[in-house]
């Protein structure tokens, strides 16, 4: 349904999107996950023909975004970030306008509006001005205009940003529902969002794809470092810290009320070694637990790795990107 081949976008010197390659099948709900300024919105703008790619090409619903822009736009429903709407129109007027502007034939418009209102549960506000309805409802109106012509592809840029938890849940349910009829791409920097709604995740950082897989597979990935929780009694904290830091394979140790958080190489040898060393010291081992990696761990590791690479590739500016990376993580 959607394929991107060597997609690049340059803004002056800055390479905002760098050689993206991905394919999305019909009926998938795919999440673009990445820190702010990773290139998610830029990619979406290229897919919706807001502007053309600098290099490479993308094909949406069987049409090329550059040479067949009009056909692509007929087949895509887009919800930009911050949901721009005409606040001085009523919901019904606005949806009727969207239907007409998207070329829904005159005879079908009433029905298209009714369907969108029903699917997005807008019945109670349909005759109110958009300026007077809540943020959650505006988001629904935004989704309503995206689906009004029943396009096979939906592209949603941060559809749940700025909503309260109840609204977020409703919008997620709605997106899942919409995903039954259309292929959906949504972008987010909120992790639970992708594990709840998406069948596949594409992690983008610094304009490049860092990983793509199902949320389950990503979470099951082996981390380079494994977080271990270690409970030790019978010795002063400082001494234990000192000792643990000296062990082979241990990268980082913190303590918190007698519990030590160890980050060690993801190697089967490390945990038995830790246990043995503590016992040999004559201390009491209360707890030893390696935490299962979450999507968040994987995401943070991928992002921080990409930023480290970015910093390394620009030695003359090394100091600055590292600082920025720290903030984003």
């Amino acid at each position: 349904m959607i394929t991107a081949t060597g997609l690049c976008k340059r803004f002056g010197e800055k390479l905002a999107v760098d050689n993206l390659n991905f394919g999305i099948e019909k009926g998938e709900i795919v999440g673009f996950l990445g820190p702010n300024a990773a290139g998610k919105t830029t990619t979406m703008r290229m897919l919706t023909c807001y502007f053309p790619p600098s290099e490479g090409s993308a094909n949406v619903a069987g049409f090329d975004v550059y040479t067949q822009s009009l056909q692509v736009r007929k087949n895509v429903g887009y919800l930009p970030e911050h949901v721009p709407l005409y606040l001085d129109m009523s919901v019904r007027e606005y949806l009727e306008f969207a239907a007409a502007a998207k070329g829904v034939p005159h005879a079908d418009r009433k029905r298209a509006v009714a369907t969108a209102v029903e699917r997005c549960s807008l019945e109670s506000v349909v005759d109110q001005l958009i300026g007077t309805i809540s943020r959650g409802y505006r988001q629904r109106v935004g989704l309503g205009q995206a689906i009004i012509s029943e396009p096979p592809v939906l592209i949603l840029d941060e559809p749940t940003v700025g909503l309260d938890p109840a609204q977020i849940r409703e919008i997620r349910e709605l997106i899942k529902e919409l995903g039954k009829k259309s292929t959906v791409i949504l972008s987010t920097h909120i992790l639970p969002e992708v594990s709840v709604t998406c069948s596949r995740v594409i992690i983008i950082a610094n304009g490049r794809i860092q990983a793509q897989d199902t949320p389950q597979n990503l979470a099951a990935r082996q981390l380079a470092l494994v977080p271990i929780t270690l409970g030790v009694a019978g010795a002063p904290t400082g001494e234990v810290l000192e000792f643990l830091r000296g062990l082979q394979g241990v990268k980082k140790v913190d303590s918190e009320g007698g519990v030590f958080r160890v980050e060690a190489d993801n190697d089967r040898q490390v945990r038995p070694q830790l246990a043995r060393a503590v016992i040999e010291k004559g201390w009491e081992l209360l707890e030893l637990h390696a935490r299962q990696a979450t999507l968040e761990d994987v995401f943070l590791e991928i992002v921080s790795r990409s930023e480290a690479e970015e910093a390394a590739s620009k030695p003359e500016k090394a100091a600055e990107p590292v600082a920025v990376g720290g903030e984003n993580a």
Binding site: Y50, F51, Q71, A100
Partner: protein
């Protein structure tokens, strides 16, 4: 394009912007008409009192022409207020981004904005024709002259609106758009005023001012070069607006 146009017209008339501007326009035209009528009245009394039959008065030249001129002149002030929000507002709120992802061409988007604003101005100008209708009950009116004058007025309005739409596409600030429009239109009028004084301008630039081209039409002279001037001006700014909108695609 029809969809976008009807949306724009609805915004104009729902927000009362069009109503207020039309009302202001008609009020000022009415005042101007009354003042000119009184002046004309005293002039014709004086003329008829002249036993030598000197100082004959011409209704078309001394009353209708000044009224038409004021109708055109006032547009310099009103068109900026009408066109300022067309693109600026959508740029600021981000709705323009969404519009660009609809299956609409730049031509359709600019066309819808241009024609909806032109329609509002045309309605405004046509309403002001009530003064002429009133006059036609009192004196004999040369209707072909009025026809040409109104054609000139609509062409002038089209050139003003095209320029205003272009100015609106430059900035996301409505005020900036209005000032650029007003400055440009007023500047063009000044050029027309000065060209009589500065021979060099007249010789090398010809008639650059929008309003001077209208002055011949308001007298009932239909010259192709005046029509061509307005059409060229309108097409130029229509085209420039399209280029401004497309400029988002130029970053490579």
């Amino acid at each position: 394009m029809i969809a976008l146009m009807s949306k724009e017209l609805r915004t104009y008339y729902n927000s009362s912007m069009a109503w207020i501007l039309t009302a202001c326009y008609l009020l000022v035209i009415g005042l101007v008409f009354v003042i000119l009528l009184l002046q004309f009245g005293s002039a014709s009394t004086r003329a008829s009192a002249n036993p030598m039959g000197m100082g004959e008065v011409k209704v078309m030249e001394q009353l209708v022409y000044p009224v038409m001129w004021w109708m055109a002149f006032l547009l310099i002030f009103l068109v900026p207020l009408l066109t300022m929000r067309l693109f600026s507002e959508e740029k600021r709120s981000g709705t323009l981004e969404l519009l660009f992802t609809y299956p609409l061409t730049e031509f359709q988007i600019v066309g819808a904005k241009f024609f909806s604003a032109l329609l509002v101005v045309t309605m405004m100008v046509l309403c002001s024709g009530s003064t002429i209708l009133l006059l036609s009950r009192l004196v004999k009116i040369e209707w072909p002259t009025i026809g040409v004058a109104y054609l000139g007025l609509v062409l002038l309005a089209a050139s003003f609106v095209a320029y205003g739409v272009w100015a609106s596409s430059l900035s996301s600030n409505q005020l900036v758009a209005a000032v650029v429009t007003f400055g440009g239109l007023f500047g063009m009028w000044l050029v027309g005023v000065f060209q009589e004084a500065v021979a060099v301008v007249k010789e090398y630039v010809g008639d650059p001012s929008n309003l001077t081209h209208f002055e011949t039409m308001a007298r009932g002279e239909l010259n192709s070069h005046d029509v061509v001037y307005y059409v060229a001006w309108t097409v130029l700014f229509f085209f420039l607006t399209m280029r401004i909108l497309e400029s988002r695609k130029w970053s490579t």
